[in-house]
């Protein structure tokens, strides 16, 4: 390159330095550092995530935390506790008139899967597990209603207790439906929201019905 022979560089432009690019503050060892932390930290981190989602359900706002980091721990805990509380509601002691544990489980998970498939078929943009996560977490108000109903039934099973239970269950049912609609309806095209809301309404209606007709022995 004859043309470059007389190019001179002034002395104050630095032409030397470090050629290696700094990798950043984390080294490969830090990726696996969660293995070395105490078990309490691991569990508390997951519990905090689940607790944060519970708060999101109780105060439904348009936040994407529930959708972004989906997890199925919360729905599992809620489903198991609801199924356990619905035990012992048989009309006779020798036959089971109340729902079995497996029945409640299957209703909740099968119903959630059907609603998810329905919303996907209607052109929804939400993924399968995100939808399961939202529907499972929105069972929380109904679990609270079940708890209240059991406590009310401890006091007696008369007309007043029935009216109290009816009001509580209807209120929680409305809350559940509104909470899940707030999360799920956004992922649908705007003119089809009603088509997605109806199965959710039916799903929580069936669960509320199971809670309301629960009579312990």
């Amino acid at each position: 390159f004859p043309g470059l022979a007389d190019v001179s560089i002034s002395q104050d432009i630095p032409v030397e330095g470090e050629i290696t690019v700094p990798v950043g503050s984390h080294s490969p060892d830090e990726d696996y550092s969660t293995l070395d932390e105490p078990v309490k930290d691991t569990i508390m981190r997951d519990l905090k995530a689940v607790g944060k989602k519970f708060v999101h359900v109780m105060y439904p706002r348009k936040s994407s935390a529930l959708l972004r980091d989906w997890d199925l721990w919360g729905p599992l805990v809620l489903c198991v506790s609801l199924a356990l509380m619905l035990q012992g509601g048989s009309a006779d002691s020798k036959d089971d008139g109340g729902p079995q544990f497996a029945e409640v489980f299957v209703i909740i998970w099968f119903g959630a899967v059907v609603i998810t498939l329905n919303s996907k078929l209607l052109g929804g943009t939400i993924s399968f597990f995100q939808s399961l996560c939202v529907l499972g977490y929105c069972v929380l108000p109904l679990t609270v209603a079940m708890l209240v109903c059991r406590l009310v039934l401890l006091a007696g099973a008369g007309t007043i207790s029935f009216i109290i239970r009816l009001i509580v269950v209807v209120a929680m049912f409305g809350w559940s439906t509104l909470a899940s609609t707030a999360f799920l309806a956004d992922s649908q095209p705007p003119n089809r929201k009603a088509l997605v809301v109806y199965p959710i309404f039916l799903f929580y209606f069936v669960i509320s019905w199971m809670i309301l007709t629960f009579t312990p022995q």
């Binding site: 009309a91 006779d92 036959d95 008139g97 729902p99 079995q100 497996a102 029945e103 299957v106 209703i107 059907v114 498939l117 329905n118 996907k120 078929l121 209607l122 052109g123 099973a157 007309t159 029935f162 003119n191 089809r192 009603a194 088509l195 109806y198 199965p199 039916l202 209606f205 069936v206 019905w209 309301l212 007709t213 009579t215």
Partner: protein
């Protein structure tokens, strides 16, 4: 170090190279196409369950070495281990190929049948359309000489079946139905889905015999929308326990939806005998199903069953759960008052 880096990158793209491996695998190792089965060593570790692991390891081995060296390396290995090593190698190749073929077939079948997009066109509806079709399902058409259009959608019928399941559950609870083998929910779902799918298939088969112009999806859709009448009737009569009211609803509401279905079918069939067969069967099944749903979960039948099965139970004295006592009492008295004034 140079070989290791592409190895790691290659392992990340491993699944994409499965087809390439299947082609290159027979080229390596034993060259003989005839396998001497009686000398095959069973303890050479070529069990099918281990094949996944072996396959993974073999892939990684391949990717770390250069292309041409792999075959020579394995042949040398076989010779070094003696005859047993070579036969074990052959066995592993065969099992590996079986694993590949099986995996390919399974993934092909999965992507073909579990593809949800097959059903997508049948769910392409607007709420307005669903509402319109629900109302139309109660209005019998007059023009039966011209084939009537049936919308082949599955959203409405599916939602109606689920609604019927919910109503049935309510009815079973209020009549204190006790299912001895099985669960309440299972019975409700089985009944409703069984009716929808089973009767649709049967009617489609009859339509095929009678040369009617109707497809399976249209049949499912027609029958599904006909359940709207059932839903209304059962919703009203499970709460107001009035026999005459039920019969009126059965005739009027059930009759209207049956007439609509029958008219649509008649418009698509040619020939008097065929029309008669199809419409008679459909009308009979539809009306009888409503009758069954009402009476199967009625208190009177419950009482009779209990007298037959359990001497401890007194018939006609079963009390419904405390839930609908007030509501049904109120509804019953209002219905009686209305009936008296009319």
């Amino acid at each position: 170090a140079g070989g290791a880096a592409p190895g790691r990158a290659g392992a990340a793209a491993g699944p994409g190279r499965a087809s390439a491996d299947a082609v290159s695998a027979p080229a390596q190792g034993g060259g003989s196409a005839v396998i001497d089965m009686e000398n095959m060593d069973d303890t050479s570790g070529s069990s099918f369950e281990d094949m996944g692991e072996m396959h993974q390891r073999m892939k990684e081995e391949e990717e770390e070495e250069a292309e041409g060296e792999a075959g020579a390396g394995e042949e040398e290995d076989g010779e070094f281990l003696g005859m047993k090593g070579l036969r074990g190698q052959l066995g592993r190749q065969v099992a590996d190929q079986m694993w590949q073929v099986g995996k390919r077939q399974a993934s092909k079948a999965f992507s073909l049948y579990a593809n949800i997009d097959i059903l997508r066109p049948y769910f392409d509806v607007e709420p307005v359309q669903v509402r319109a079709r629900l109302l139309e399902s109660m209005i019998p058409v007059k023009m039966i000489n011209f084939p009537q259009k049936i919308a082949g959608e599955l959203y409405g019928p599916l939602m109606l079946v689920f609604t019927l399941v919910a109503i049935l559950l309510h009815g079973m609870k209020t009549s204190d139905t006790i299912i001895r083998e099985g669960t309440l929910m299972g019975t409700a779902i089985g009944t409703c889905f069984g009716y929808w799918l089973g009767v649709s298939s049967f009617m489609y088969f009859l339509a095929y015999l009678c040369n009617a112009q109707i497809t399976m999806v249209q049949m499912l859709s027609l029958l599904g929308y006909g359940l709207f009448g059932h839903c209304i009737t059962l919703f009203v009569t499970y709460n107001i326990h009035f026999h005459s009211l039920f019969y009126i609803f059965w005739l009027v509401v059930g009759g209207l939806s049956t007439l609509r279905m029958v008219a649509v079918l008649v418009s698509r069939t040619v020939g008097h005998t065929q029309r008669l067969i199809l419409c008679g069967t459909l009308a009979a099944l539809h009306m009888l199903f409503l009758l069954y749903l009402h009476f199967a979960y009625h208190k009177v039948v419950e009482g009779i069953l209990d007298t037959l099965e359990g001497p401890n139970m007194l018939p006609f004295q079963r009390v419904a759960r405390d839930v609908p006592v007030i509501s049904s009492a109120v509804l019953n008295t209002t219905a009686k008052a209305v009936a008296l004034t009319l």
